[in-house]
């Protein structure tokens, strides 16, 4: 049976209500990102940042751990540990930001390198994708490490599209990808064009945010490379990235858990193996609420410090997804 013939891992029933819900959410997120870019960024990061990291890691564990050989998985985790160490050295001011970023990208390149043999075995386009990504990482590390990191920060928000493409099959997959092209592609491009901002001029409260979040320009560097920060499109680009962040959080927290139910689910063929002993659904939900509350309090009291610590956890989930998605291209469930 070819991978195309594989059944969808979960029954997908997209009703009219679903589309209305998606539409309302997308419009609300886009409006919030354009009108209150800093507030939207800071509030969603504070409440859902850490929560989405946990949920996404659980999804990756459940959905992909069975597809990653134990030895390869361990090596990937070791490299990931090295990346965290590099970031810690940066936090301790033992590494400058430029060399830190270059080293980090180099290590991410190593993550890609580790899965390249698997991609090569599958061959064709998949191997080319891996090679292109590796080339981009090496080029970025050597020529422009900080802008490359910013680029990957924005691109990370698109990973749910890859997860959906991996998890769904047939008509459901086509519909989901079409919807993704719209909400993850067209809408942010529209926001980045600056047209919505100009149409809504006068309604915007650009500076409104969490008390310790600082000014908008101090946060632009999160999603906008320095050479564009003084440009006309800087805030529009930031708004587009903030919108993508909202969507990323929504899909990760709301949709992904439904695509990879845990071992407790009784439906045959829909359960997924997991290496980490995640709590039962109710305990997990309660834990997430606690994480959200603590995270919000931390961001509210000391935004930049909370963001620094959050980032150490976030980078783990962000970088591990690159080799995982590459592997997903090569190895189908049960393959």
């Amino acid at each position: 049976m070819s991978s195309r013939d594989l059944p969808s891992p979960v029954p997908v029933a997209a009703t009219g209500f679903t589309f209305v819900f998606v539409f309302v959410f997308v419009v609300a997120a886009a409006l919030a990102a354009v009108l209150f870019p800093l507030a939207t960024y800071a509030l969603t990061l504070a409440v859902f940042g850490l929560v989405h990291v946990v949920v996404e890691l659980r999804y990756v564990d459940r959905r992909f751990s069975s597809r990653v050989p134990w030895r390869l998985g361990t090596t990937l985790l070791l490299v990931l540990g090295a990346i965290v160490l590099v970031r810690l050295l940066g936090l301790a001011a033992m590494l400058g930001r430029e060399p830190q970023a270059a080293l980090e990208l180099g290590l991410v390149g190593a993550l890609v390198l580790l899965v390249l043999p698997v991609l090569r075995r599958v061959g064709g386009l998949r191997a080319l994708v891996g090679l292109a990504l590796l080339g981009l990482l090496v080029f970025g590390a050597l020529r422009a490490p900080l802008p490359t990191l910013v680029l990957f920060a924005v691109l990370h928000n698109l990973t749910p599209v890859g997860f959906l493409a991996d998890a769904l099959e047939g008509r459901a997959r086509r519909r989901a990808l079409l919807l993704c092209a719209l909400v993850f592609g067209l809408v942010p491009l529209g926001i980045a064009s600056g047209l919505p901002a100009r149409a809504l001029a006068g309604w915007s409260v650009a500076g409104f945010s969490l008390p310790d979040a600082g000014r908008l320009d101090a946060n632009l560097g999160v999603f906008v490379p320095s050479f564009w920060q003084g440009g006309v499109r800087a805030v529009d680009l930031f708004s587009a990235a903030v919108y993508l962040q909202c969507l990323h959080y929504a899909v990760v927290i709301h949709v992904l858990p439904r695509l990879a139910p845990g071992p407790e689910t009784k439906d045959a063929g829909t359960t997924n193996a997991e290496r980490i002993p995640w709590p039962a659904p109710r305990a997990f939900a309660v834990g997430l609420a606690g994480v959200a509350a603590v995270s919000f309090a931390a961001f509210f009291l000391a935004f930049s410090d909370a963001r620094a610590v959050y980032g150490l956890f976030a980078l783990a989930h962000a970088w591990i997804e690159i080799p995982v998605l590459l592997l997903a291209l090569a190895v189908r469930p049960g393959g």
Binding site: L45, V53, R87, L88, G90, L91, A92, A93, G96, R97, E98, Q100, A101, L146, P147, L149, V150, F152, A153, H156, N157, A197, R198, L200, A201, G202, S204, A206, G207, G214, R215, L216, D217, A218, N219, L220, G221, V222, S226, G230, G231, V232, A234, V235, I276, P277, P279, F303, S304, D305, R307, A308, V309, Y310, G311, L312, F313, A314, L315, H317
Partner: protein, 311 residues
């Protein structure tokens, strides 16, 4: 009351009387800032982008003039009319007289995709910017020696070429309280019109009609959003009476470090944050312990009956 100025320990601003200052129509600039909207800021930014770090000038089109003629007069070449047209989004065939147009810098021809090198000191012409509040007509027609109108809502930006500042200072009218807005408060507004340019703001402290010291603040426009402009002070220096620097420039503060999927902004030199490192390690250890504990409790059969049954 010539000494009224002397009684003011710190006078922030000055007044530039436009027509009387520099003769040619395109010398000093002034334009109203009633309420600057996102749209206005947007346009200003787009228009001035290629001339980052350069001075642009304003010029009023006189009857019968063409862009080519203006280009030849101010930029030295008829061919540079296209630059003026592009900068002002003008149709060269229909320019009403009286239109106020921006002129690109003489020494920085516009070439698509490349801006001039702002590091070339010979190519940079510093202007001082001041924000004035008052009715438009009153400001434009103001003559030195007469009090500035007060209480009106209009705001104007006045730019004075740097080498003319001393001359302008001498022309400061009677106490301009209420008419001239503190530069600190409105420098961002002024900068909106020179978005993507570096703005030099200048505070002159005057005592006994004698400039005691001058504080130069350089601002960089970093963001525009919803009618607001964000500035970053790039450096500040204090000049003594002799015009020499009195204090070392203050280094800019690094912004907070974004992280994880939110990477680091491109500013160097963050302070060491061992406290955060320790917090992270403590959290990591707690998570590790929780995971190990959960794994052990999962392996340990809690109910012998169910264990037997599953076996």
């Amino acid at each position: 009351m010539g000494k009224s100025l002397a009684s003011v320990a710190s006078v922030l601003l000055l007044w530039a009387s436009l027509g009387s200052l520099s003769g040619p129509a395109a010398a000093d600039i002034t334009f109203p800032l009633p309420f600057f909207t996102h749209e206005q800021v947007h346009r200003a930014t787009v228009d001035l982008g290629p001339w980052k770090g350069y001075t642009v000038r304003f010029r009023t089109v006189r009857p019968g003039e063409t862009l080519g003629r203006i280009a030849r007069e101010h930029l030295g070449s008829f061919k540079r009319w296209k630059e003026i047209g592009a900068l002002n989004s003008l149709d060269p065939n229909a320019i009403p007289s009286g239109t106020e147009i921006l002129l690109p810098p003489v020494n920085a021809p516009l070439s698509p995709g490349t801006g001039p090198d702002p590091k070339r000191p010979d190519a940079r012409e510093w202007w001082d910017f001041f924000v004035l509040r008052g009715p438009t007509d009153g400001l434009v027609r103001h003559r030195p020696g007469k009090p500035l109108p007060t209480g009106a809502a209009d705001v104007r930006l006045v730019a004075v070429r740097h080498d003319k500042t001393a001359e302008v200072l001498k022309r400061v009218a009677d106490d301009p309280a209420g008419a001239i807005v503190a530069l600190d408060a409105l420098a961002p507004t002024a900068a909106a019109w020179l978005a993507r340019s570096e703005v030099l703001a200048r505070h002159v402290t005057v005592k006994n009609e004698d400039p005691v010291h001058t504080v130069e603040r350089h601002w960089r426009v970093t963001a525009l959003a919803g009618g607001r402009i964000e500035l970053e002070k790039t450096f500040e220096r204090r000049l003594g009476r002799d015009g020499r620097e009195a204090t070392a420039p203050a280094p800019p503060q690094p912004p907070p470090q974004p992280i994880g999927s939110d990477p680091v902004p491109e500013h160097a030199g963050p302070p060491a944050r061992w406290d955060l490192v320790l917090v992270f390690l403590a959290l990591l250890a707690a998570i590790g312990i929780a995971v190990v504990h959960a794994q052990r409790s999962r392996r340990r059969p809690s109910d012998p009956t169910s264990s037997t049954a599953s076996a």
